[in-house]
Symmetry: C2
Subunit: 385 residues, 2 copies
């Protein structure tokens, strides 16, 4: 490896700075809204008599994981072994890798983690079972293993019913694995805008899961966990009587894409508040009706569309490149000018968070006394494998 | 700041490993193709009697910057002060920040850098001039400053002609700034698919630049640098007799989006070879005709569409989420199976590179003896501000 330094980037803010002193682009957490979101979800899962295992792929922060546990979460989900390594290093001891893991190198790391914590994993193929078992045996531990069933997302997962049963039995029969339940997440249903469409999709998922659960029970297989659900549908899974653990992640930040969902009777989805923002400076104002801000593709993801300029009614993003976003302000009353700083609500929180090294936690964001109260590292940023 | 460790992520490979031993997802550089691209560009700019100041926003690596200098580049471009800091720390001494910089905090850092290196900057507004001057005065240095003119991209830049002249004169009159030339980059022209469309756009840009240059000269202002051009149009600016420095960046990697450009008479744009890949594993094969690989939005950007599965003729990406890509392989002859590793050509190299901490440099990628020869940090990954 060539010896050029790779310095850890410094945060764009200091504790106690006022909002306007924060350098840009920065990833801002509205602490007040964030805490209200945590509390709202805690109350909702308590009332529904289910547990919450929030997905840390959203936040990639052990600090936030611990905060979620303070609010009653039983543990967290991860999507990657490298994420789980950082979460275990941060003291989180109950993790579900809600995903398939292939390759001996990764499975050995999964097994090593199980010496320090409970780190569960999913399988959707019979060949995965001896692979995981071998890694577990090498470490002299056992691994809690779930069967992922395909409930409508057309991504991973074995077909529900008999094929899932075969996998569960093979896990149960393996000396180094413990059959722990079903992973039944319907990802693509989360962002269906219409409430009835989401309900129809999730009712089908619940039925497939219920049928598979019944088959397991009839064959003497106990499911400790029936897991799934995201921020768009969790109330439906919570009310199912089937799902035991909800895996929502985005609820803590509530991005602009989820805000486009509609609740029953066309009501807005305002259960949670926007708590995550990109702070950006107007770096150029080439004419009266166009500003260019200093945050582009490298600061905010666009897989779910452009971010939403906040409190800038009438504005329209007309273009984005790697380090620039062009905003048309023709119809904006109070037009920002060169040097002004604005907030953008990310369209999709998870890949946006993954672009940043630091959360800048601001107290009283919507007030005159907005100031930096916390600076948290995005510890698992870039944890890809 | 809460005291949870933020470990530097380890690379997904070791030196001398074979290709198939590299863990996934990984950012792979085909060293042979990369070196040929460097050489091709070096020859082309030499023949055109212009100089090359390649854009490091593509690669974010001082190591690659030095490699470009070995091949004749006069220096590099950066887009952000934090990028320039990392490049100067890596020993690059001639940098153009091809962008506006606002705010005293950033301008102070720009001035500090100028104690160790030549770090030029662009302006497109009269108010920027005293701001930069103040920062320069505080450090007791002078800063080489270019006027950015808007030549068709509708992003930043002052209008060409008289308005540009006013800025240049104000720079020239400032005791701490040196007027150094014009920044005249037409970003949106780079990706016009049709050669004639690109030519029409760039001819207009050249005309605006030439007119502004003439005005400068007539007013006794010397332009050391007339800079601009990207990988899609650099031959046109090179042949203009006006531009002195080309700022192409993507040529070293040649992404899938640039490969969609057509040259004259509809010929393919094959001047450069694909040299950057995402290596991914098949983590799930739910049925014969669908594989899911372990690289999603967090491993490859989609602002320019999906990546291109390499040597997987007939395949089609049907969906991507944060950590998954679903590929339909119905029409693929040699169907990959669970555990297989495949290569994807990123659609847009710059924001894809920015998602990774390490380049894995592979020698002989297209041969049976493909192996890891270099592991370079993506040193300025995440350098946002």
């Amino acid at each position: 490896m060539h010896n050029i330094s790779n310095p850890r980037l410094q945060p764009p803010a200091e504790i106690d700075q006022s909002l306007s002193e924060i350098d840009t682009p920065a990833l801002i957490v509205d602490l007040n809204a964030f805490e209200r979101n945590l509390k709202t979800m805690a109350n909702m899962v308590k009332e529904a008599h289910v547990t919450l295992r929030p997905h840390s792929k959203t936040h990639k922060s052990p600090w936030i994981g611990h905060k979620q546990k303070e609010y009653g979460a039983v543990g967290i989900c991860c999507q990657k072994i490298s994420e789980a390594e950082i979460m275990v290093a941060g003291g989180i001891e109950d993790i579900l890798v809600s995903n398939q893991v292939v390759g001996a190198a990764k499975l050995d790391r999964l097994a090593v983690l199980n010496r320090d914590a409970r780190v569960m994993v999913c399988v959707d193929h019979i060949d995965a079972i001896p692979e995981i078992s071998t890694a577990a045996a090498r470490q002299g531990i056992s691994i809690d293993t779930l069967v992922e069933i395909e409930v409508g997302g057309s991504r991973c997962g074995v077909t529900p019913g008999k094929n899932a049963l075969k996998l569960a039995q093979a896990i149960q029969d393996d000396p180094h694995l413990n059959f722990t339940g079903l992973q039944a997440y319907h990802g693509s249903a989360q962002h269906l805008r219409d409430h009835t469409d989401r309900q129809t999709a999730i009712e089908k998922a619940i039925q497939k899961t219920a049928d598979t659960l019944q088959l397991m029970t009839a064959n003497g297989l106990e499911c400790e966990i029936i897991g799934g659900a995201g921020t768009g549908t969790f109330e439906m899974e919570a009310a199912s009587g089937i799902y035991t653990e909800l895996q929502a992640g985005s609820y803590i930040f509530m991005d602009a894409d989820y805000a486009k969902n509609q609740c029953a009777h066309g009501r807005p989805f305002d259960t949670f508040e926007h708590a995550l923002f990109i702070y950006a400076s107007v770096m150029s104002k080439p004419d009266e009706n166009r500003v260019v801000v200093d945050a582009g593709h490298k600061a905010t993801s666009i897989d779910s569309g452009y971010p939403l300029p906040w409190h800038l009614s009438g504005s329209e993003i007309t273009g984005m490149s790697d380090e620039h976003t062009v905003i048309d302000i023709t119809r904006v009353n109070k037009k920002p000018t060169r040097g002004d700083k604005i907030l953008l609500v990310p369209s999709h929180c998870d890949p946006t968070v993954n672009l940043h090294d630091w959360y800048i936690g601001v107290r009283g964001l919507q007030t005159d006394t907005a100031h930096v109260e916390h600076i948290w590292p995005v510890s698992a940023r870039g944890a890809l494998f």
